[in-house]
Symmetry: C2
Subunit: 285 residues, 2 copies
């Protein structure tokens, strides 16, 4: 099985069947699509044993198999990557190709091997440069009109928060108010430099709790993994838990909020899981 | 197949296999659980041909099969109904019993026979005395920690809206700001008496659009049915559509917002569909 996670700054590739069986891996910097995908293909061509390949991609991406742009990255602001044909490139390997969002990949990996085992519905949220979420329902990643865009859930702004918001589309969405970019712009400092007692974290916990409350209301997952760079801030997860209980106010039980178990490898492991699922489905048909 | 929808004011019962094959139906007023369930059982006992019965219930209800209170209504404020053992009563019919929320039942019926055919994920939202939503993913109703409680999604209050909110748990949730009860209390008039040009409807469309945006962000359904008494207000659905497009701001495509196709029978038809699904699953196992 081959798996590739295309991230904004680097692309991870792996060959194997799961976290305990990664036979080869590599990381290449994300430059132009042509250069980056060439190096990805080079890696996989050296592993002739792979029988399927999965791609977990930053989005938005086109997941509609009946669409002429299926398998491509769509409206990304990332220079050069708009319209990049990830699936088209991987098809030159002549094995089945699975394709999903990076967060759906990470959600699937955590569901199969990590902090989401046995939990259904299960949601994985990453809080980093952007905020994204993937959902597993009935053991499969959820796709819809496009795919979930949990980072863009509307959030009630704190009355004292005068920051304009970091999302070019929405004034008050989770990503616009609580991503690493929003934190940096609002406080004029990188999130990792803000001390634990800084007002930033109270506000951050409040916004993330509102996002969690929306996810709980719509999907009711027993557990949500909160990952990504921002969640590494000391004490933040505990504060989000406390704020979530306060926000839900006892009407519905709060979902467990836990850190990821697979760390930075969740995305590429998810890509392996996607490849496996594709083969399993092909076998059934 | 037997189906029963327990509503706050009346309970609908039907025998049949779908909207074009309802062989018998009856409605009984919702009084005490003992009295109400006795009349429901009486109706079904007169139909010895039923091979399974489904119940679509107002909530919150306990859907956890491993729980000692499975099949009961839980924290309802409805006098006498807290702890009512709906499934226990139906089991005296000696046929398999399916159990879900009224909105999951309605969602399943609209998905199988109505405005949600072929749409997956699919969401049904009812805007009435309360606000509730049911979701179908992978052809099945979504259950989670409890069940979705879409009426309690946090909503950003309009800065000019000084109404305290009608939800005893949350100051600013969809049900608290946009249910029929909220409308009546805020404007001092029943929603059906408020003229189409009344300020109430601008605000109502705005709040419902925020709820739709949250559902779209988390689950990305291509289509959402908006039903319930409040949605019968002239022009409201069109205003919610326009507000939703404005709220999503082009980042994700707006889901189709459509009226229900099955009308007031959606719940009881959903109960029939739940009963059928239970038999189908029993047959597979």
């Amino acid at each position: 099985m081959g798996g590739v996670e295309t991230g904004g700054t680097r692309v991870r590739c792996a060959v194997g069947t799961g976290p305990d069986d990664v036979r080869a891996e590599t990381t290449v910097p994300t430059t132009t699509p042509a250069e980056t995908l060439r190096r990805v293909l080079e890696f996989f061509r050296a592993h002739t044993e792979i029988t399927a390949v999965g791609a977990a991609c930053f989005g938005p991406i086109d997941l509609d198999r009946s669409s002429p742009t299926f398998g491509r990255i769509t409206t990304t602001p990332k220079p050069g990557w708009r319209g990049a044909d990830v699936v088209g490139a991987l098809r030159t390997l002549s094995v089945p190709v699975a394709f999903d969002t990076d967060v759906n990949g990470a959600a699937l990996a955590e569901y199969r091997w990590g902090a989401g085992r046995g939990v259904d519905p299960f949601v994985y949220v990453t809080v980093g440069t952007g905020i994204g979420g993937g959902a597993i329902v009935g053991a499969r990643p959820v796709h819809g009109l496009v795919h979930p865009e949990m980072g863009h859930v509307p959030i009630t702004r704190d009355s004292a928060d005068t920051f304009a918001g970091a999302c070019p589309y929405h004034r008050d969405c989770l990503e616009g108010l609580a991503s690493a970019v929003a934190l940096s712009q609002r406080w004029g400092a990188l999130p990792e430099t803000l001390p634990a007692e800084h007002e930033a974290w109270r506000l951050q916990a409040r916004y993330l709790a509102l996002g969690v409350a929306a996810i709980a209301a719509v999907l009711s997952p027993p557990r949500i993994v909160l990952g990504g760079g921002v969640m590494r801030a000391a004490g933040l997860l505990a504060r989000v838990r406390a704020e979530t209980v306060k926000t839900l106010a006892g009407y519905v039980r709060a979902p467990d909020l836990v850190p990821p178990a697979l760390g930075e490898r969740a995305g590429v492991l998810g890509a392996l899981a996607l490849a496996q699922a594709t083969l399993a489905e092909a076998g059934v048909q």
